[in-house]
Amino acid sequence: MKYMLIMNTPRDGYTQYMSWPRKILEANIAFMHAFGKKLKDTGELVGAEGLAAPTEARLVRAGKDGKPITDGVFPESKEFLAGYWIVDVDSSGRAFQIAAEASTAPGAPVKGADGKLIEHLWIEVRQIMSGPPKEVG
């Protein structure tokens, strides 16, 4: 079964990340590299992507004429998607284990939306839907 492990950052997370000191930055890059390699080696990694900064993101919908209307990111957004991993694992337990490890990525303390420091980022674990089930009978 496949799961998407989603890493969100609080609104200020990106700005803070941009000014991380060298040692933390180095540790984070090394962690992400090793983590990705480990998942590839176990054969569980389906894919992973990191997203460009949300400051460049746009919200888009069709106008009355069908042409795109774009808008900047809504300022009230509390969280942004930073990136995700897709893993193919035997159980939800294994997906949780991988997510927990992902959450230990080194980083400077980040303040959550409530202003409190977050020790490890929450990783959202969502199962990916499959094709049609086998016929019964």
Partner: protein
């Protein structure tokens, strides 16, 4: 030679032989793909046949004839109903295949036809001329196989609709048609050299494939300066491959690379080709870029580099192309010759430039020159601004590290 490499060399020859006889590029391409898959399965187990090209052509012809037969019988059922006159099957199997050394070139011209989108031309070229399977191309571009399959089939439809005949372009349209071919090769190379998405900076296979195809074109058109110039440029750029990234995939810029890791043999070949290309008459953008790359590759260090000569070449290049990246490189070369302030003055002119405004490159180059001018706080800010805008993960990491290191030194 491995079976894989052998098949890639033979693929365009087999395809050309089929297209010449059937005049049906799309059906021939499908048939050759099937023959390649059969060969990749059988040859490693049963040994390579004595005449591998003949084997491929025979198997592909059989597939093609089968496909045409079922098409003909379908049409016959309709034709008999309509007019009572059956269509005859073309006796494809009874002729000896003819080969022409220019076949690969003819195929390249077809696959890089200006009617195709660049993405389609790239995919079709890699499959029809490069002999790669759809799965291999999909893997190299990190997109689903169905997406590449769709790009290829749409490209083949465009070729069919355009009615391009299977022959070299007329002398009058030659130059015009060669441009897109070289552009597609350059695109393939760059896709391998600076992966446009994801965390990996190098996708070696595509770069090597572009060089291999460019070599073939150079063998067929040895006197063409643009072809030689592009091959030189690719070799001289690729020569720095091993020094360009660190152990964790991080980006290492030219001035920080360990030059002992550069490929001396590729540099020697690239420099010789550059000189030959420059002597072939009219000098185009590829030759100038190759000459710049040659000056970098021959220098023992950044300080040892012939910057005045590089600046002169960028002046030339600026006259040939309105590519904003050329303008930025020109500003960097100016800074190396006349000092960072002169470079910054040039960059100030681009602040309102449509194509550069909002580009992370402009910020990154300004940061670099500010750093050299001793304006550290301004440099840190701009490195971070560039990092927030780049879509390359290795580059973002590099720019953030640069800012973090400078801030650390500032205390």
């Amino acid at each position: 030679m491995t079976v894989e490499r052998l098949l890639r060399d033979l693929a365009p020859q087999a395809l050309a032989a089929l297209v010449r006889r059937s005049h049906d590029f799309a059906a021939s391409e499908d048939a050759v793909q099937e023959a390649l898959i059969a060969a990749a399965d059988q040859w490693p187990r049963q040994g390579v046949p004595e005449q591998p090209l003949g084997w491929l052509i025979r198997v592909a012809l059989r597939r093609l004839t089968d496909a045409l037969r079922s098409e003909v019988s379908r049409r016959n059922r309709e034709a008999v109903v309509a007019a009572g006159s059956p269509v005859a099957v073309d006796p494809l199997l009874h002729e000896e295949p003819t080969l022409d050394p220019n076949d690969t070139l003819v195929l390249l011209f077809m696959c890089c036809h200006p009617a195709l989108t660049p993405a389609s031309a790239v995919a079709l070229t890699l499959r029809a001329v490069g002999g790669l399977t759809t799965a291999e191309i999909a893997k190299a571009f990190l997109v689903p196989e169905a997406t590449i399959g769709q790009r290829i089939s749409r490209a083949k439809q465009s070729i069919r609709a355009s009615g391009v005949p299977f022959r070299l372009p007329e002398a009058a349209e030659y130059a015009e048609r060669l441009g897109p071919v070289l552009q597609v090769l350059y695109l393939i190379f760059n896709e391998g050299y600076t992966a446009s998405t994801g965390a990996t900076l190098l996708r070696t296979d595509l770069s090597s494939e572009a060089i291999r195809l460019n070599r073939q074109v150079h063998r067929l058109l040895p006197e063409n300066g643009d072809v030689a110039g592009l091959l030189a440029l690719l070799l001289l750029t690729d020569a720095r491959r091993a020094a360009r990234t660190g152990p964790q995939g991080e980006l290492i810029p030219l001035d920080e690379q360990d030059r002992a890791l550069w490929d001396r043999q590729a540099i020697a070949e690239g420099v010789a080709l550059t000189n030959a290309a420059l002597a072939m008459g009219s000098v185009g953008a590829y030759q100038v870029q190759a000459a710049i790359a040659a000056l970098h590759d021959e220098a023992e260090s950044v300080a040892d580099t012939d910057w005045p000569q590089i600046l002169a070449l960028y002046e030339m290049l600026k006259g040939m192309s309105d590519n904003p990246v050329v303008a930025l490189s020109h500003a960097i070369a100016t800074a190396m010759v006349e000092g960072p302030r002169a470079g910054l003055t040039l960059l100030a002119l681009f602040q309102d430039d449509e194509s550069l405004r909002g580009s992370h490159r402009l910020d990154a180059v300004r940061a670099h020159l500010l750093e050299r001018a001793g304006e550290r706080a301004g440099a840190v800010e701009l490195y971070r601004k560039a990092a927030a805008k780049t879509t390359s993960m290795p580059e973002r990491n590099y720019l953030l590290m640069k800012a973090a290191r400078m801030e650390e030194a500032l205390g």
